[in-house]
């Protein structure tokens, strides 16, 4: 055959094909909220990835400058709407540091119990959603949600609402535990390991999960520390930094628990870290439920209305289920904060999304995003 009979399309050199620009748009079942990724693909391989968000931006920081300190507490529920009690605790702790209030011991124990229950619901929801992104069509998700419902029922009987709890106050907690709540929680904590074993036998040995997550989205410890990644994502790379151990805020210094660390920093490590953290949370819950003292639940010096902290500023942080959740408050002596800033873990963890996804296929990009564990209420505030 002479050269003139070869069709012109095949005669072009292979390196001259075009890149495909895809907008994994804001409405998508696997983007964990209204989150958009502008992905440039070379075939199926990701060449460039830019996250775009701001679709849920409600400017909570400006609303807080108009509300009083107590008035922005219900708004903090709506930040990371899956874990509302840890958001409440971070804000209450920051205002307590600013105003010089001290919560009594029983309140601190209640806070630890609720925060560890929140960690359980967040990690089980995450494990369910990660599997959903991989195409497991809802079975692990519904198993995780079955256990989550039991914990949400506990929250409802204590705080009055399942998700938007609005329970912590400056100087303690809003109301005391109703009778029988501790027994119900002890029951739940005793039955939870059985669920975790069932979940692990369903998933961890699954070859499809292992093939899709091992070696995918590897993050090096140096990049993770420099990019400000915190929470289970950081510990999956092997860096030992858990604010519950470093700052020992509240009464966390009294509990005996380990911090699981990963080795390779890929998606499978992040998934396993969360399962192991759930087991450690159960240990903390056992100890807290056993040792909870009686007594008052509010600081007698704390006022509900008209709280006016002295002028100054403070930065307070906790180990939320997603990472370091921090609040930075500047007070000018009035009833409203002068500057109210939230340090959102989901937003900072998204900084290296592009670095993790380069070179992987687009299907892996979805799985990597699922393992970062973002909640748009927190990213956009």
């Amino acid at each position: 055959m002479s050269a003139s009979t070869i069709p012109s399309a095949l005669a072009e050199p292979a390196s001259d094909h075009q890149m495909l620009e895809v907008s994994l748009g804001p409405q998508h079942p696997s983007t964990h909220g209204v989150f958009r990724m502008d992905v440039v693909l070379d075939g199926e391989e990701v060449v460039k990835l830019k996250p775009v968000f701001g679709y849920l931006h409600r400017n909570h920081e400006k609303i807080a400058e108009k509300c009083t300190y107590l008035g922005s507490l219900p708004y903090t529920d709506r930040l990371d709407y899956i874990c509302s009690l840890t958001n409440n605790w971070a804000y209450a702790m920051t205002v307590e540091k600013l105003a010089g209030l001290v919560a009594p011991e029983r309140a601190e124990y209640i806070r630890v119990i609720l925060s560890e229950l929140t960690r359980l619901i967040n990690h089980s929801a995450l494990a369910g959603f990660l599997l959903q992104d991989m195409g497991a069509l809802g079975t692990p998700l519904m198993y995780a949600f079955r256990e989550r419902e039991k914990i949400l029922d506990l929250f409802e009987s204590l705080t009055g609402a399942r998700m938007m709890c609005n329970y912590m106050r400056f100087g303690g907690c809003r109301c005391d535990l109703p009778p029988g709540w501790i027994e119900q929680t002890k029951n739940l904590v005793a039955n939870f390991p059985k669920f975790l074993d069932e979940f692990e036998s369903l998933l961890t040995g699954n070859e499809i999960l292992q093939a899709r997550t091992e070696g995918v989205g590897v993050l090096t410890p140096q990049l993770a520390v420099n990019a400000g990644v915190t929470g289970p994502m950081l510990r999956a790379t092997g860096v030992n930094y858990d604010i519950r151990k470093v700052d020992a805020y509240g009464v966390y210094g009294r509990f005996n628990f380990r911090v699981p660390l990963g080795e390779r920093g890929d998606v499978f490590d992040r998934y396993m870290i969360r399962i192991l953290e759930m087991r450690e949370s159960l240990k903390i819950l056992d100890q807290a439920l056993r040792d909870i003292p009686g007594g008052p639940i509010m600081d007698p010096k704390a006022k509900l209305r008209n709280l006016r902290p002295k002028p100054g500023e403070v930065y307070g942080r906790i180990e939320g289920p997603k990472g370091e959740l921090g609040f930075y408050l500047i007070s000018d002596g009035g009833p409203n904060p002068y500057r109210y800033r939230i340090r959102p873990p989901s937003l900072i963890n998204l900084t290296i999304l592009e670095d993790m996804c380069l070179g992987q296929t687009i299907a892996d990009a979805v799985v990597i995003l699922g393992s970062v564990d973002i909640v748009l209420g927190e990213v956009d505030r």
């Binding site: 509300c67 009083t68 107590l70 008035g71 922005s72 507490l73 219900p74 708004y75 709506r78 079975t139 198993y143 079955r146 419902e149 029922d153 409802e156 009987s157 204590l158 705080t159 009055g160 609402a161 938007m164 609005n166 809003r174 109301c175 109703p178 069932e198 036998s201 369903l202 998933l203 961890t204 040995g205 699954n206 070859e207 499809i208 292992q210 509900l304 209305r305």
Partner: protein, 196 residues
């Protein structure tokens, strides 16, 4: 063997599937609206105003102190004070609200209005089947729609309501005893005049 993990997982799924026929813990679906979950005492959705007795407007506990309007974070309460005063449960004349509107499309069920009310006049309701077609008319509840009797409050939040009732009875009894003592102290100056 390759695939053993998947098979173990399938065994779990099968166990749940078969178990849902005879184990109440495995079958977790509630067939709403035929079946409804029992209400929880502390649950909160939108606020309502409590009134004592039969007449909703005369027995309303609210004294229009506007503390709830000031403390409400999304500013969904709108109060206008009335010029006419009415007696409360101990007999003292109190201000009453002429207009008390709550926009429940804005209300975020935080319960701060309930916490700061000094008169136990506004409490959290548990109704959640509130959807209507008209966003602006039907979702703005006024005083008459918000007022619910004290018996309803006792049915919803038993411990809190009975505690408040006991306290109010005590206050009423004390006020009546004080009024009787004052009336008795006012009578003797007239008696010497009548005895002579």
């Amino acid at each position: 063997m390759n695939g053993l993990g998947i098979i173990k997982g399938m065994v779990e799924t099968a166990r749940n599937f078969v178990g849902s026929y005879h184990d109440a813990e495995r079958l977790t679906t509630v067939q709403y609206p035929e079946q409804k979950l029992p209400p929880v005492e502390n649950a909160r959705t939108i606020p309502f105003l409590v009134f004592d007795g039969d007449d909703a407007m005369a027995g309303l506990r609210c004294t229009a102190c506007v503390i709830c309007e000031k403390e409400c974070p999304p500013q969904c309460i709108y109060i206008v004070k009335d010029q006419v005063k009415k007696p409360d449960y101990v007999g003292k004349m109190q201000v009453q609200p002429k207009v008390f509107d709550i926009d429940i499309s804005v209300c975020m069920s935080c319960g701060i209005c309930v916490e700061v009310c000094p008169f136990d006049a506004i409490k959290m309701d548990q109704v959640f089947e509130l959807s209507t077609g008209d966003r602006f008319g039907k979702l703005l509840l006024d005083k008459k729609q918000l007022a619910k009797p004290n018996d309803y409050f006792v049915k919803l939040h038993k411990t809190e309501a009975t505690e408040i009732d006991v306290r109010r009875e005590e206050d009423k009894r004390k006020a009546e005893a004080a009024a009787a003592a004052k009336a008795a102290a006012a009578k003797p100056p007239a008696a010497p005049g009548g005895a002579t």
